[in-house]
Point group: D2
Chain length 309, copies 4
């Protein structure tokens, strides 16, 4: 049996990093579109997208904020679009699901449990910020609980299941896998589950190889062949975690949402650069990357022509 | 080197189970005191205590609710008293720390992260309830986030550190260990850390042997010799988890807070019965149980004469 | 589903320990029979048997040496008889399989790989020996390779498969499980495989909990539901390893072959004492021990009336 | 702290593969030298060398067989030379250590335990062989026990310790790590230990990620900071195992001794090609490869000017 091709997801901008941290962080719709298309050209089969206020870079989860870049991306590329329902951990679930409910993408992310979300360690690395909201958001994370109760998750599933979207189930610790298993036994989610195990954020599991193995092993035990495994490593563990997963048959997510860096002290200039780097690892392993259509096949997606944008 | 003696903690009543679930659940102060003393007589070195409203069994985190049984227990036994700061996951942290702040016990529990707390599966097992609050509390857990932000935890530590209490750090998943490590690097907690890894509650890590091993391994990596390991298994995994830990050099927690059962379909009649059962395992392993004073020595507690009750 | 009952195997005398190490080590046929029957009465469902020269206690793998105690045991007990084909690691495979080929027991042990067999550390613990062969045997283990080539194993299987015996596949390291998997893919062994994972002998895997977990996990991966797991811990790890396995759904082997000790510095006086001790752990776990007939059922044995003694 | 540079070892020809399996397998001294130098130019810091009979490719462990390529390599390159003491698993230990005893290289390999060595599965892949010894050697492995008793290992250490060589401790299963630990406690080996954990050969541990993790974890536990970790994956797992190790801070070994293949059905044409491929992975991880002098520094080698060739 030929080994499965490796799906590279690229998380283009997210909501955790702020404009003052890197001049290369996409903020405007034009920047998001251009960076997503660059990532796709470099080999990403999926782009995971957030929107930001074009003026100050603040996360903006209004459906209208997504529209401009969705249209550009769709016009120019076959890449699979994945819309966040995480939004920012400061938002309510109702607010967070609106873009996916409106635009009906092939994939929508879904956070599988409540947790602390400790962004404040980043405060130490930056002396000044362009916008007041940036240090406030980071400082506020001391008291931030990213709320994803069972009811919240059920609300997201019941709102989005009808759109035909598949989910990128974001699991930040073992418990999130067990929570997903609960919804699996309830029949609210369907195979193949696309599970994004997330490593290295303060408040979630770490990025040690033992952590990666434990999440993989637990998912294997709970879901058997009914899931497709992907990983993201926050910060400098990004490539280490990706290499471990790729060597074990997994898929990978990279991009500026998860790490702004391409090496010690060196900012990544584009999302494409991160895709290119992980592609070196994948090809060094003798594996091939999946095209968008191959990703659709692996994840059994509804197709790029069924979205509402 | 002689193997360390095994500390049995007994969690007498907790806040999760409700009076309708078992006639043997201690509710009044007299019942809590009697059951705690019975557990101590059977071999528990530590009793972990919650208070309940004597009329309807609802969790009561007012310091006054603790006073009656604290006095009785202290008068009759040398057992180490551990007061909950978990209270009920529906309470605020300020409410939750008050009993420990008031009574200054040798040990106070402390939850190390936010999480979902899914008690609703218990609804299926019971046809009727004596009190309205019982099904409401269980039903409400669909939307329950047990909130323990970094700020909340810091608040508890800053409130209680001055009392000389040590903590029973309750860790329900890997992330909680990393959170504890954050406070360790901040200098807010001191060795030897008494870490209670908690298994099998929906919303937390499961009770599979892999889960037990991963928590142990992670704690070893993060804290080396600076911690003492204990486990609690919720529900029917209680003895399995305890046996694994005891065979690996750990301490154990049992009691009706964590499991009402002593076998399939058979309710435990007393906390002492659970202590006696785990003691069989420990002694079968050729190990000895720790007396309260030996537990004080192992955990470096301040002493039973320094409490405020 | 009710948890499976736990099979206690008792290894009565073996070939590794020598008469000078313990006055309680069974040597004569009468002693082996009596000790095996005592173990059965205490709860062992299976007795794993070696024979020794009645004069000097040297391992004796002649079929005639087994006959006296086989007859006594069969006459007095329903216990399942398991005959060693390990014999002593100094013997050839042809010599080692003869007792099982002759007496056609329900179970025969089978070592699944070659390895060093470092018994020499025991030399440090004893000042004098009654018989010259004892220190010579221990000293000789510096250069001892316990030979179980693929051809040797195939020879044992081809010799014994016709007797209807099942095997206690003794696996002293991960590679032995992979070797067993090779014979499984060759169709030379049949499910349910009874796998005895063996811990703590110098030359084999250690007795650390990680080692126990890795063997279990590897067997799960290679054999799925097609095997029944048992463990033996050499020396002082015996009960720790047994407790871990029992808490994970496994079966256990105890007895004087594997450990002469019942506690630090205290010799076990009987095999029954070891069985009684492990039974405490099993019952503390809320589990039941398997009777010989229940063991026959679990392992799908041919039946005690089909043996040749 | 900057992450350590990654040492690439290249095992140029070995003794397991035979000339009929690949026209690219180096056989003559000129071929060995050329291939080793190519590997060094591509980034290998260490070359692990065996000699073969130039006529039929049979392993030749006479010191004279090594001389021609040793001289050429030393003249042209600063690469660290590592001489096998494994030779072929059919040879005695006395025969196996002679080249290292004679030429006093900076590194000598050393196998840390006895094991089956199942090369016979390769028989199925080849229809014909150029030399009679090839199928005989493979067929013979059904009964092959690679003998490395405690006494054998002690003999090698006592013979070679005086040369100032460090060892590449080849560990094919968990037990080999424990055996190494025995010699460590005996004071016969010195830190930093260079441990080559070897995966995927029938008779040894497999090449599953769990196997890699277990060997790493065991070495960490037994040796702490006193060792440097390297891996080799036999056959098609070569790059997967290397990627896992590199992502966990380990070093890697590649080359035609361990795998003749560069992809499904495609023979590697040179050792350099394997080095180049693993280098892609390492650089994709954002890591740098070690030069020979950096490898000398990491492993604390005696220096390339102290060898006897
Ligand atoms: Zn996102
Ligand atoms: Zn509690
Ligand atoms: Zn035996
Ligand atoms: Zn070699």
């Amino acid at each position: 049996m030929a080994p499965q091709k490796v799906i590279i997801s690229c998380a283009v901008t997210g909501s955790i990093h702020t404009p003052s941290m890197s001049p290369h962080l996409p903020v405007t719709a034009a920047e998001v579109a251009e960076s997503a298309l660059g990532a796709a050209a470099a080999g990403a089969a999926i782009v995971h997208l957030h929107a930001r206020n074009p003026t100050d870079g603040r996360p903006d989860q209004s459906p209208e904020a997504f529209e401009p870049f969705l249209r550009v991306i769709k016009q120019s590329s076959n890449v699979v679009v994945n819309l966040t329902t995480g939004g920012s951990p400061y938002m309510t679930v109702e607010e967070r699901v609106r873009p996916a409910a409106t635009w009906k993408p092939e994939v929508a992310s879904l956070n599988m449990g409540s947790m602390n979300f400790g962004l404040f360690p980043m405060l130490k690395r930056y002396k000044s910020f362009k916008h007041d909201w940036e240090p406030q958001m980071l400082e506020g994370s001391h008291d931030l609980v990213f709320r994803n109760s069972f009811k919240d998750i059920r609300y997201a599933l019941e709102t989005l299941n009808g759109t035909g979207a598949r989910y990128e189930f974001e699991c930040y610790d073992t418990s999130h896998l067990y929570n997903l298993h609960y919804f699996w036994t309830e029949g609210l989610v369907k195979a193949p589950l696309f599970i994004q195990t997330c490593f290295g954020l303060l408040g979630g599991i770490g990025a040690h190889p033992d952590d990666v193995m434990h999440m993989k092993r637990t998912a294997d035990r709970l879901f058997g062949d009914n899931y497709r495994w992907s990983v993201l490593g926050a910060g400098r563990a990004q490539m280490q975690v990706a290499a471990m997963a790729a060597s074990m048959g997994g898929h990978v997510r990279v991009g500026l949402e998860d790490s702004l860096w391409i090496g010690a002290g060196r900012l990544a200039e584009t999302n494409a650069a991160r895709v290119t780097q992980v592609r070196k690892i994948i090809e060094g392993l003798g594996l091939e990357i999946a095209s968008p259509d191959e990703a659709r096949d692996i994840l059994q997606l509804k197709g790029g022509d069924t979205v509402a944008f």
